[in-house]
């Protein structure tokens, strides 16, 4: 029995080591481990029943996570109304699923995508949306405040959802949330429940750094520093609602849910 748990832990650790900076991977592995081993079957003498119980719980977890995107897409449908303009930042498959479902439900809306330098997420996203016949407009990242008055809502995904109810997401999310908040536009986050992490960043630098090099196209003098962080933290007061597979949550509910999940 103990051997089984140790094997699980080893597998989880090797998964995590593939990308040490990924919050969703770490959180997902932790939650999985907790969920799978939270069963009294481990105390029984019968190894086979314990094993089958663990596998059953594992498959359940997988099923919930797999269906998460569909559920999130369905829950957020009411919030997308006909004639609305949605601002999207970063390339999130959950947000793409939300928009796909809305398009399939014949909702009329248009999307503004930020360019998403340097990952070019805007280009990838606009390609996908063009395939769905959704009117798309690309903005450079600095044009967000300029366009904010024609926007009805902001939709982002999340790399991780932290204990305070805030999110860690692609660099630029915090900026957009600040602008949206100052202009009274709602910011909606679509995130699966396995991204809920036991982190509490107190400021932007209070996270494990995730750096990636930026190509400016021209050589930079060696004395010039470049900010290469790939993600930022958006505090909960700038978020309106989180759509998760556990339901629609306000940011203050997140810590409650986290406690329940990690108990």
């Amino acid at each position: 029995m103990m051997e089984l748990e140790i094997e699980l832990k080893k597998a989880s650790d090797s998964l995590k080591s593939w990308d040490t900076t990924s919050i969703s991977l770490t959180a997902g592995c932790d939650l999985f481990m907790r969920y799978v081993t939270r069963t009294s079957a481990l105390e029984y003498e019968d190894f086979n029943s314990a094993k089958s119980r663990l596998i059953e719980r594992a498959e359940k977890f997988g099923e919930i996570s797999y269906k998460a995107r569909r559920i999130i897409a369905m829950l957020s449908q009411d919030f997308i109304f006909d004639g609305c303009t949605i601002l999207v930042h970063g390339f999130s498959r959950v947000v793409l699923e939300v928009l796909k479902t809305a398009a399939q439900n014949k909702k009329l809306f248009r999307v503004l995508c930020t360019e998403g330098r340097p990952d070019r997420t805007g280009l990838r996203l606009s390609n996908e949306l063009a395939k769905l016949d959704v009117p798309v407009k690309l903005l450079i990242d600095s044009a967000v405040a300029y366009s904010m008055d024609e926007i009805d809502m902001v939709f982002v995904g999340a790399d991780g959802v932290v204990e305070s109810g805030g999110i860690i997401n692609m660099m630029g999310t915090y900026q957009i949330a600040l602008v949206a908040h100052s202009m009274n536009k709602p910011v909606y986050v679509a995130a699966e429940s396995y991204k809920f992490a036991r982190l509490y960043p107190l400021d932007q630098k209070d996270m494990a750094p995730a750096l990636r090099p930026i190509d400016f196209g021209v050589p930079i003098p060696s004395k010039v520093e470049v900010e290469t962080s790939a993600r930022d933290y958006t505090p909960p007061q700038y978020l309106t609602l989180l759509f998760t597979d556990l339901g629609v949550l306000t940011p203050s509910v997140v810590s409650d849910e986290l406690i329940q999940l990690y108990l």
Partner: protein, 322 residues
């Protein structure tokens, strides 16, 4: 068991069965996911009991001796269930009857001497609240905004005067002008949404904005039976009621403009008379319920206490395949 049932069906089946409310069925699945991922609650353990809805079918067939004993067993269980349900409903009725007293008990903590309170329209909860403070010998004044077009503020003002409170009656438009002289705004609610937003009689959004502008606390009194587990995505339209224009205009006035027969066949003048306003949670300072005073961001907890996540959507369950 309920969670396993729902997730065993594929996505396509879900959409076909609950076609008219795909969002609600998604909420049900989300609730099921929630209850699965958490340590088992008493609720989910009790759900292991066989479905009592199957009972009427077996007891009506009778005949077979084996079935008779099974049905006797099940009918005693259904009797117990009936008893539990009746008890729960009685408790709920009692809660609703006593909520005014329990809220009014907290009045003394919030209303102090020589304060000026503002309210709009008429609410029984507010009346009881103010009266309870008066009973405890607090001296304070009340501004009542009349609450057009029903003018229920007039009734409230009369009641307050009858109970010996110094009252001032103002029009709704005068709220912004008078708010700087007010210490606290106390209002009732029609419903409280899951995000802490309030569905309140029309005009209260304006009062809430005025209160925020002048840093006046905006206190909402709501019994726990007013809590609603829904999130408002378009509250001005979907959770509102439009009443008769006769409350604004007398029959006969403007009848020529409102006539469908005149001119191009459609009237140039429309009269809109919404019943409710939506007050967003950031404008509310405090909720006073029968369980005490709470922050708007805490309302989800109260709702979770009163509504199990599984009960947010009532669904017909297919014959239980436990």
């Amino acid at each position: 068991m309920a969670g396993l049932n729902l997730s065993a069906v594929s996505d396509d089946d879900d959409d076909n069965d609950q076609d008219d409310h795909p969002v609600l069925s998604a909420a049900a699945v989300a609730a099921a996911a929630r209850s699965t991922l958490r340590p088992p609650s008493l609720q989910t353990l009790l759900e292991d009991m066989p479905d009592p809805a199957a009972v009427p079918h077996t007891s009506s067939s009778g005949g077979d001796s084996e079935e008779k004993s099974k049905s006797a067993d099940k009918s005693s269980r259904s009797r117990k269930l009936k008893h539990d349900v009746i008890e729960a409903v009685n408790e709920l009725i009692e809660d609703i009857d006593t909520c005014h007293e329990q809220i009014a008990e907290q009045a003394v903590e919030h209303i102090h001497h020589n304060e000026v309170i503002l309210t709009l329209g008429s609410s029984r909860t507010v009346l009881e609240f103010l009266y309870a403070a008066k009973e405890k010998k607090r001296s304070f004044r009340v501004f009542v905004a009349e609450g057009a077009p029903r003018y229920q503020g007039h009734l409230l003002a009369k009641e307050l005067v009858a109970r010996g409170l110094q009252t001032t009656l103002i029009t709704d438009s005068a709220v912004f002008a008078m708010i700087s002289r007010v210490n606290m705004v106390i209002v009732g609610a029609h419903a409280v949404m899951a995000n802490g937003g309030v569905i309140a009689p029309v005009g209260l959004n304006m009062v809430a904005l005025a209160a925020q502008r002048h840093a006046v606390p905006f206190v909402v009194l709501a019994g726990s039976h007013k809590l609603c587990p829904l999130y408002p995505h378009n509250p001005e339209v979907l959770l509102n009621e439009l009443r008769s224009p006769s409350e604004l205009l007398d029959f006969g006035e403007f009848s020529d403009c409102m006539d469908f027969g005149s001119g191009s066949g459609s009237p140039l003048i429309h009269v809109v008379n919404p019943t409710f306003d939506y007050v967003p949670p950031k404008l509310v300072s405090l909720f006073i319920t029968d369980t005490g005073g709470h922050n708007p961001s805490y309302m989800y907890r109260l709702i979770a206490d009163y509504y199990s996540a599984d009960d947010l959507v009532l669904q017909r369950k297919a014959a239980a395949s436990n």
